[in-house]
């Protein structure tokens, strides 16, 4: 490990323990860690925005390449910031109109073709996939229609509609259960990642070699 890596690891260990201290109770160290994280993140994003967007696509394009087209999006960007000035806030509507219009024009056809229609075809697929496949298809159909009925509020959920919505609720619960199980796994993975860092990078990488050197030094 280089001296820089050793210092970096020690800082990361300190910050990890500061954040973990919240498990015991809320405290000043946790607050310091939290604010540091927030401050560094904002600073990092501003830096990235400047060096990845403003510097090459606006500043360099205008000053070096003499391409004045980027002035249009740059001015529209400034219009958004003008929301902070009440008398000029109306200018931001032009930028938002362009963003919303452009995004809608791009996303609606692509999402319909790329996501919605293939999913619809798969849901309404003919029964030609063998016994297990057909059974799976029937379950999917029942699940999709019953969940749609569960969220259909124009009819009172009684009799047939009520029964169908209860089946829908059952499928929703299965979905939520699966999501919750996966969420638990995700959160545990984060803890494992931190403990792996503390054990492999800090203890095995720094503490243990220092400890061995100290013992060797004393023995000599």
């Amino acid at each position: 490990m280089t001296p820089g890596e050793v210092i970096g690891t020690w800082i990361a260990v300190g910050l990890t323990l500061m954040m973990f201290s919240f498990i015991y109770r809320d405290n000043a160290l946790f607050r310091i860690g939290e604010h540091l994280y927030l401050g560094i993140s904002v600073g990092y994003f501003v830096n990235i925005q400047y060096w990845q967007v403003i510097a090459p696509d606006v500043y360099r394009a205008i000053r070096v390449d003499h391409n004045y087209l980027p002035l249009i999006p740059a001015i529209l960007g400034i219009f958004i910031l003008l929301r902070l000035v009440p008398s000029l806030a109306w200018l931001s509507r032009m930028s938002f109109a362009l963003i919303i219009g452009g995004a809608a024009g791009l996303t609606i056809p692509n999402n319909i073709h790329g996501l919605f229609l293939p999913q619809l075809f798969e849901t309404l697929r003919p029964f030609d996939a063998g016994l297990a496949g057909n059974l799976n298809q029937i379950i999917i159909l029942i699940a999709v229609f019953s969940v749609i009925i569960f969220f259909f509020f124009s009819l009172e959920h009684k009799r047939l509609v009520g029964s169908a919505s209860k089946i829908g609720l059952f499928f929703l619960m299965i979905g939520f259960g699966a999501s919750f199980g996966y969420t638990v796994m995700a959160r545990v993975s984060l803890l494992i990642g931190r403990i792996q860092f503390l054990y492999y990078d800090w203890f095995q990488g720094i503490i243990w070699p220092w400890f061995q050197v100290a013992i060797l030094h004393r023995a000599i």
């Binding site: 015991y24 990092y44 994003f45 925005q49 790329g114 996966y182 969420t183």
Partner: protein, 289 residues
Amino acid sequence: MRLVQAILNLDRRVIYTIVALSVAWPLIQPLKLPVVPTPEVKGIFDTIDALPAGSHILIGADFDPASKPELLPFLEAVLAHCFVKDLKPHLLTLWPSGPGLMQTAIEKEAKKFGKQSGVDYCFLGFRYGTLAVVLGMASSIPATFVTDFYGKPTSSMPIYQEVTKISQMKYLLDVAAGATVELWLAYGAQPEKVPMGASCTAVSATQYYPYLQAKQLTGLAGGMKGSAEYEKLLLDKYGQQYNIPPGDAIRGMDAQSMVHLFIVLSIIIANICFFIQTRYERKQRRASA
């Protein structure tokens, strides 16, 4: 009854301590529990494994340090797999806080397998614009990423004399901590007719199963478990030949299993205690009435 009440009123810090020990113990003393690859993960591995040498793969690594334990092992394993098979990965990220992790991963794997930047692989780094980046790459990668992560012009690189756009890729893979799988699918893979696989955080795994069911994805690796399965497949097929060690995900799965076991036992015990207490309180109420 005292024991039941003690369990139900257990201080949360005791539970935290047991969880911390359940994670730490298997890391110090590995249990070597088996990792069994599922068809979902095999779907990605087999597709990549079947590609002929020299094929190009586009890898979107759209995650940041917050998802490192879940997704970085997968990315490292896929890169190792690409280099073992002499495939040419093009790595990029749509997340501004991602490049540092990706740089470490690709440089480590490239060094291990003796691969050269700009010839055998390319690390494009980060570019702002998410949707615009994917749409731009569909028409021209060197025009969208004028330089790679290291500032070298992409148009003069040997790798971009072979391919220049998404449709020329043999496979598209998104390693995602957010909703970028749908972005790559709708704007990259589907319109350009490129097969796609995805690795995602466990939290978002259920969201992507419909795309797997509809065969819009060839495979799906969810969370640390998915990463461990990919590492296992790579280890079984190429581990000895290329001296590939077990990765962080496989080593982490012992701890994952221990914590899950503790959580399941806690839920069962807490429910039993709850029912015992409810019955006891009902009896007490009846006796007092």
